[in-house]
């Protein structure tokens, strides 16, 4: 407004000064003019009008309003997919693709028949807006076409169009989100969610790939390698070669006549005999070539089995189409010479499984050795006694469970492993190993699982069945004795003591009605806290304990003033006092339950070793030594007590399990743990001798279940088990012929929730208990990767799980009629082991070797470790490989020394990859400067969970000439993903259009034209015009006046 005012002031000045200026000019130039009366009149008139108008405007009329009818336009977003599954920026006919899109969008807009704003956008992983697609050549090159982010572009378009009266999206895409054309249901689901409701209809124009829009020889077949399959696809007969099964599809432009393709894989020096697989529409196993029928566009091959014996961790796969298929077949093509008629991919090969065999028995188990030999797996046998030394930090070559794929435990008793802490840590590590994908196979009798067995150890958490508590049937009455350490070191740590009381209360909470309870405090003498009586509920128990403790605190205060603080817990005496509970019960006339439990909660930091030992002199004066574990063992064997313990660690809060603490970097936690561990070990020894288990400051199992004892399955044997003979587990096993009665049977069952008794026993209910004297338990609660459908899951579970448990020992002497000598059982065992081993290697290194447009060879490394291995660097080294000329049959020279362990000499090149965590990248430089073939060795370095340096190495042979260009689409001729596109169109209320025959629905877009809108005129410019008019008028009048004067 200030500008207007300034203009007005200026106009006013000029208005009045203009005649004077004019006169001045005339004077200067010496011109003299005439003046007429009419001019004067006109001028005066104009001035009057102008002044009037200015005044009017000035007083407020700056706007003029008018109501007019409203006209609306729809918004049409045309989205064109330029990802590499469809088009490549450098392809010769790419402009044609874009121009066709322009034409197509113009036709669609026209057919829609509405007034519209058309916006055009090309997209792949990113997107770019264009006024015409034909101008988008550079955009196609700039966008990363390796993948398509369909959901992002749709979301972006919807957001941009929000608020427009109507919006239509025209989507020109093939619906494939990766270059390989793999299905990506997640993407599609996201898009469907975005479009659901049909507010913005999508007209999908499916784009089928056209070879002319891609680079180079479009007639070459492409191959699509799926995710490595697990073993579920394998059947009997595949056990010898089961490790990497790659489903391979060949995609090819339909050929006018029958052709031959050759698939080769180079692993190490050797050319793999890959022709052990069959392709549909192709030749059966054993031929050298894949016959591609006339007109076929895809050839699906059965999983490709890679041999494991050969060296190297990478396999370079090549595929070539023979241009001159006659005569068929060419021997085999291993080393194609011309790079442009084949392509290759690098895939990781799984190593030979490594098996750790923890064997607690003495005599050898020939069966396991035999099975391992047959499977050709590497096995390392370690005795449990050796474990703490082998896994210790000061071990020269520490044994790391995670280096193995399968752990076999036979007849292992946790007590063999060493002290309590070692047991908890090592068994905790085994559990962690399983949780992270490792396999576990356990065989042993009920001793192995019951008391002093695995029942209360961390292993129990991964057992496929719950080991039944002894007497779990019928909710038994229990005599539960709680022994609370009230020595000064614990009593005067309120938070720790409080937690200790809670442990007792929580442990005793599930006691059944009629149980007997006694809780006494112990330092060097007895302090009865809860006298022996029937259990009155957990609240009453807690009140009693806390009241008694506060009274005890007063008494301790009195004693403190005498210097008689309570001593440390005399474990031996406490146990002796425990035993007196039986006499007390008799004296009080209470029914003594058969189930007797002791829970000792003591100060883990205060191992009173003096009180751990004891000596006495018998009535004959004979000196006798004794110690707490021995007394505990007598309590267990003679009086049926099961003794459990919880060792307290000073400080706030319970401790996590030992294994977690040792791998934690929390100094406080480790310190608490360290202080408490010595006392814990003492308590553990006592507990274990007493048939139970001890925990380090954690509440794990209620006392009723502590030290669970497995009921023996032999008691519940069923005479003639019947089998579901259709079950795939029995494929190839002569169940029918052999006669099932020869062995009492297998069952595969899981007692966990949702488990099924898979063998078809009529009317069987899991709660009936195990019906057979041999149970192969499998666990399908722990799923294998990759995920599958529910049906698939069960199917796999039926075949075996990562944890298999055999409820009988394999040490049965191997006599003729023994189990381990039974042929069916041997196959079953081999199968169970094969199923238990993990399918993902500890360090999976996905390697992508590509050639870019500069012809540089690029390496992308995707590292995945199943345990927290933190890589700090990867080093790639190139070594020369001397190769002979390929033989006539295409195979590399055979019989050459290819020992991988021999000194490879100096590397040709060595560089560090850049990246972090999972993704690492490197550039080998121009492909022309690389040797024809070289060995690539990748060395990964990093730290493991405990901060120790760890490294691994993988190597393989690379032939750079066989690398395909990164830009070549692998989804060639896959065609558009029509089902997804249809779903998409349907969800949005749109339709799928056929580009050849456009049938655009007319009524799709309705525009409402009945509205009105207000038009507003801004009169500020009129003011300016008026001023100019006034100036002109003034000029004229001055002109006239000056002329008149002259």
């Amino acid at each position: 407004m200030s500008l207007t005012i300034l203009g007005l002031i200026l106009a006013g000045l000029l208005f009045w000064l203009a005649p004077l200026l004019r006169r001045g000019l005339d004077r200067l130039t010496g011109v003299s003019r005439n003046q007429r009366a009419s001019v004067l009149v006109l001028s005066l008139l104009l001035r009057g009008v102008v002044i009037g108008m200015i005044a009017l405007l000035w007083l407020g009329l700056t706007q003029f309003r008018q109501t007019v009818p409203l006209e609306t336009r729809a918004r049409i977003d045309v989205l064109l997919d330029v990802s590499e599954s469809l088009v490549h920026g450098d392809a010769p006919a790419v402009a044609e693709y874009l121009a066709a899109a322009d034409r197509l969008s113009a036709n669609i807009v026209r057919d829609l028949g509405v007034d519209a704003d058309v916006r055009k956008r090309v997209f792949a992983e990113g997107s770019q807006e264009l006024d015409r697609f034909a101008n988008g050549l550079n955009a196609v090159r700039d966008l990363n076409g390796a993948a398509t982010d369909l959901s992002a572009i749709v979301a972006e378009t919807l957001a941009a169009g929000a608020g427009s009266p109507a919006q239509v999206i025209v989507l020109m895409t093939d619906g494939l989100t990766t270059r390989q054309g793999a299905e990506d249901p997640d993407q599609i689901t996201q898009v469907l969610q975005l479009l659901a409701g049909g507010e913005v209809p999508v007209l999908v124009v499916p784009q089928n790939g056209n070879p002319a829009h891609r680079l180079e020889r479009p007639d070459s077949p492409r191959f699509i390698i799926g995710e490595a399959q697990n073993l579920s696809l394998l059947r009997q007969g595949d056990l010898e070669n089961r490790l990497v099964a790659l489903p391979v599809d060949l995609a090819i432009k339909p050929q006018p006549e029958q052709r031959v393709a050759y698939l080769g894989a180079l692993q190490g020096e050797a050319v793999q005999d890959l022709f052990r697989f069959a392709c549909l529409d192709g030749d059966p196993v054993g031929t050298a070539a894949i016959i591609i029928s006339e007109g076929a566009d895809t050839v699906s091959c059965s999983p490709l089995i890679l041999e494991q014996e050969t060296e190297g961790a990478f396999v370079q796969m090549t595929l070539a189409l023979d241009d001159a298929p006659e005569p068929v077949p060419q021997a085999r093509i291993a080393q194609p010479v011309l790079p442009d008629n084949l392509q290759s991919r690098i895939i990781p090969a799984m190593a030979i499984p490594r098996v750790l065999w923890l064997d607690g028995g003495q005599q050898p188990i020939a069966l396991i050795d035999t099975v391992m030999e047959e499977l050709n797996w590497q096995i390392e046998r370690v005795t449990p006694e050796d474990l703490p030394r082998r896994t210790g930090v000061d071990a020269a070559e520490p044994l790391d469970f995670f280096d193995f794929d399968l752990i076999i435990m036979t007849d292992l008793a946790p007590g063999q492993i060493g002290d309590g802490l070692s047991q908890q840590v090592l068994l905790g590590e085994v559990e962690d190993f399983v949780q992270r994908g490792g396999g576990l196979f356990i065989a042993g009798g009920d001793e192995t699982f019951g008391v002093k067995g695995l029942a209360a150890t961390p292993i129990a958490q991964v057992l496929p069945v719950n080991v039944d508590p002894k007497g779990s049937s019928g909710d038994p009455k229990v005599l539960a004795v709680g022994v609370l350490d009230v020595s000064a070191s614990l009593f005067y740590k309120p938070e720790t003591l409080d937690r200790a009381v809670n442990y007792i209360v929580e442990s005793f909470a599930p006691l059944s009605e009629g149980s007997l309870v006694r809780v006494f405090g112990f330092s060097d003498e007895v302090h009865e806290l809860v006298p022996l009586d029937t259990f009155q509920g957990v609240e009453a128990l807690e009140t009693q304990i806390r009241d008694a403790l506060s009274l005890l605190a007063e008494e301790f205060e009195r004693r403190r003033q005498l210097g008689l603080q309570p001593e440390g817990l005399a474990m031996y005496d406490a146990l002796a006092e425990t035993r007196r509970s039986l006499i007390m019960a008799q004296e009080a006339g209470l029914d003594l339950p058969d189930e007797r439990r002791v829970l000792i909660i003591s100060d883990g930091a205060d191992p009173d070793l003096g009180a751990f030992l004891s000596w006495r002199v018998d009535e004959d004066g004979v000196f006798q030594r004794d110690n707490a574990p021995a007394l505990a063992a007598r309590l267990n064997s003679e009086d049926d007590f099961i003794i459990n313990g919880i060792a307290m660690a000073y400080g706030e809060g319970s401790l996590p399990d030992a294994y977690t603490v040792l791998n934690s970097r929390d100094a406080t936690l480790r310190q608490r743990f360290g202080i408490a561990s010595e006392g814990f070990n003492a308590l553990f020894n006592v507990s274990q001798a007493g048939g139970g288990y001890a925990y380090l400051d954690q509440f794990t199992i209620p006392i009723g279940q502590l030290a669970r004892r497995m009921t023996t399955y032999k008691d519940e044997q069923i005479e003639e088990p019947s089998f579901n003979q259709q079950h795939r587990f029995f494929d190839g096993m002569p169940v029918r012929d052999y006669g099932v009665g020869a062995i009492s049977g297998y069952s595969i069952l899981s007692a966990r929730d949702g488990a099924r008794f898979i063998l078809g026993q009529p009317g069987y209910q899991p709660e009936e208990g195990r019906p057979l004297d041999l149970a192969l338990w499998t666990d399908w609660v722990l799923t294998r990767s990759p995920q599958s459908t529910a049906e698939g899951l069960i199917e796999r579970a039926a075949l075996g799980g990562r944890v298999s448990v055999l409820g009988t020992s394999l040490r049965d002497g191997g006599a003729e009629d023994s189990l381990s000598n039974n042929a069916i059982f041997q196959v079953a065992l081999a199968r169970a082991l094969a199923w238990a081993t993990r399918t993902d290697p500890r360090d999976a290194v996905g390697l992508e070797l590509t050639r870019d447009s500069r012809n540089h060879m690029l390496l992308a490394l995707d590292h995945q470790s199943i345990d927290p291995f933190a890589p700090t660097g990867f080093v790639a080294e190139l070594f020369a490989v001397e190769t002979g000329e390929p033989g006539a049959d295409g195979a590399t020279a055979e019989g050459k020394d290819t020992d991988a362990d021999t000194d490879r000499g100096e590397p040709l090149a060595r560089f560090e990859l850049t990246g972090s965590e999972r993704r690492w990248l490197g550039d080998f430089g121009p492909i022309r400067e690389l040797p024809e073939v070289f060995e690539l060795r990748i060395r990964g370095e990093g730290t493991d969970r405990q901060g120790r340096a760890r490294a691994f190495e993988k190597s393989g042979l690379i032939r750079p000439a066989l690398l395909h260009r990164q830009t070549e689409p692998l989804a060639l001729d896959r065609g558009a993903d029509l089902p997804s596109l249809r779903a998409l169109a349907l969800a949005s209320g749109g339709t799928v259009l056929d580009p050849e025959d456009l049938a655009v629905p007319q009524a799709l877009v309705q525009l409402d034209q009945t509205g009105t809108r207000e038009r507003v005129w801004d009169l500020t410019w009129a003011l300016v015009v008026l001023m100019i008019t006034a100036l002109i008028a003034d000029y004229l009048i001055r002109e006239y006046l000056s002329e008149a004067e002259s």
Partner: protein
């Protein structure tokens, strides 16, 4: 040309390896020594006084007397070294004094064979006495010529030996040394004025102690002269001594024996207990660890027992016993082991009585079982001193103090019977047990046991499962 080079290089390598090996051996030796040390420090109920020490001394002197010059004799040197190693592991000031003096004599007189033989004889006697071999010991001592015994260094040696025996509860050794040397006028003053009379009081003849009682009073005899006089029914002497005692220390323990009225005794106890409390509290403040035992509460349990604080007395006694047991071989690892045990037993029997009277019959029976187990333990320990304490416990602690102050409940009768049995007075033992039975107050478990004991005339019958009373 190459070979000499190699040799030159090889030599330092060899030396290095050797050095490493030696270091390894040394380290291993150190570890073994550490382990031995730990073992030696632990309380060993089967040799609580670690009498292996005496044997080592004797091994050394015997070896030395046979050799011409023991400082050049490998066996003797090794024996001497073993002795020093033993001192390092389990040395006390009185052991160290003894060994140092012995070595000095042996070294300065290494050519005087007669002297070496005499020293060996004296040690042989000491070893024999500690093994309760009175005759052998006296014979060994009798062949040592008087002129050697009177030598000043030998007098000091005997003084050190008897001091060692006295401190380590080997009362019979002191007694028999005294019996041999006193008549010959060869006893060193320490033996004559202290260890010998003490031994007469504890394990010898009270009549022979009395002459010393009066003259030696005010030394560290404490209340023994008074109780000895009372036991011999020489009340005038006892009263006289007590009067002197009262003048020196108003709050003394024996005064309780002269106070008849419970009120007066209670008043006196107040003073005694105050002293105990002060000492206990002081000691508890001295120590950083709440559970660490006090150092100077030696008589607390006894005073508490006399003044009727049985639970605290037992606690204190047991604590002392544990504390001493946990000590390394050193000062305060001596006789009090046994005394503390006996105190705990006496206070425990009254505690059992209290529990019974409070209606905790079963708990009382358990306590009594514990006590019986402890009696068996202490008798085992006391056997290493030749039952050096049992007389004072029976004849003085129970017969005088307990009877006078608290009476004798059936629980104490059980204890008394067991102790009398150990003193081989089976009749008295059975009488005590029968008295306990007659009271008809004990728990059924004990009634059964005592009946069996009385019938068998021995406690060597097991009725109750021994492990019930373990601990």
């Amino acid at each position: 040309m190459a070979e000499p080079m190699m040799a030159r290089h090889a030599f330092p390598l060899l030396r290095l390896a050797l050095g490493g090996l030696i270091a390894l051996v040394l380290a291993f030796g150190l570890l073994v020594a550490q382990a031995n040390r730990a073992q030696a420090q632990a309380f060993d109920p089967q040799d609580p006084y670690r009498r292996v020490f005496l044997d080592m001394m004797l091994t050394f002197t015997s070896s030395a007397e046979r050799s011409e010059d023991w400082t050049n004799d490998w066996d003797s040197l090794r024996a001497a070294r073993d002795l020093q190693e033993e001192l390092r592991l389990c040395g006390t000031w009185y052991r160290t004094d003894l060994v140092n003096h012995l070595l000095e004599i042996m070294n300065s007189n290494k050519e005087d064979t007669n002297l070496l033989v005499a020293v060996s004889g004296i040690l042989r006697a000491a070893v024999a006495f500690s093994r309760m071999d009175e005759e052998g010991g006296k014979l060994s001592l009798s062949v040592v010529p008087d002129d050697i015994i009177v030598r000043e260094d030998i007098q000091v040696l005997i003084d050190y030996i008897t001091r060692y025996m006295g401190i380590e509860d080997q009362y019979y050794a002191s007694l028999w040394f005294g019996q041999v040397l006193m008549p010959r006028g060869l006893a060193p003053p320490g033996l004559a004025d202290n260890w010998y009379p003490k031994a007469e009081f504890l394990v010898g003849d009270l009549e022979r102690f009395i002459p010393f009682a009066e003259t030696a009073f005010d030394s560290d005899f404490l209340d023994w002269p008074i109780t000895a006089a009372m036991r011999l029914r020489r009340d005038d002497l006892a009263s006289r001594l007590q009067a002197r005692y009262d003048a020196a220390r108003p709050y003394n323990i024996t005064k309780l024996l002269f106070l008849e009225s419970p009120t007066a005794r209670a008043a006196h106890c107040q003073g005694l207990l105050q002293g105990v409390r002060d000492r206990l509290l002081q000691s508890s403040q001295l120590t950083a660890q709440a559970e660490a035992a006090s150092t100077d509460v030696r008589f607390a349990s006894w005073t508490l027992l006399l003044c009727g604080q049985f639970a605290d007395s037992r606690r204190s006694a047991r604590k002392q016993a544990w504390f001493r047991q946990s000590q390394r071989c050193g000062f305060r690892r001596e006789s009090a082991n046994v005394t503390d045990f006996y105190n705990a037993i006496l206070s425990g029997s009254y505690l059992a009585t209290e529990q019974r009277k409070n209606g905790e019959a079963l708990r009382s029976a358990f306590t009594l079982e514990e006590i019986v187990a402890e009696i068996r333990q202490v008798l085992y320990l006391d056997s290493f001193t030749g039952m050096g304490h049992i007389n004072i416990v029976l004849d003085e602690d129970i017969a005088m103090y307990m009877k006078h102050l608290h009476g004798i409940p059936p629980e104490l009768r059980v204890v008394e019977g067991l102790l009398e049995e150990a003193r081989e007075n089976t009749d008295l033992a059975v009488r005590a047990w029968r008295a306990a039975l007659d009271s008809e107050e004990l728990h059924e478990r004990w009634v059964i046991t005592l009946q069996a004991w009385v019938e068998a005339g021995s406690s060597r019958v097991s009725i109750i499962d021994a492990t019930d009373s373990a601990g």
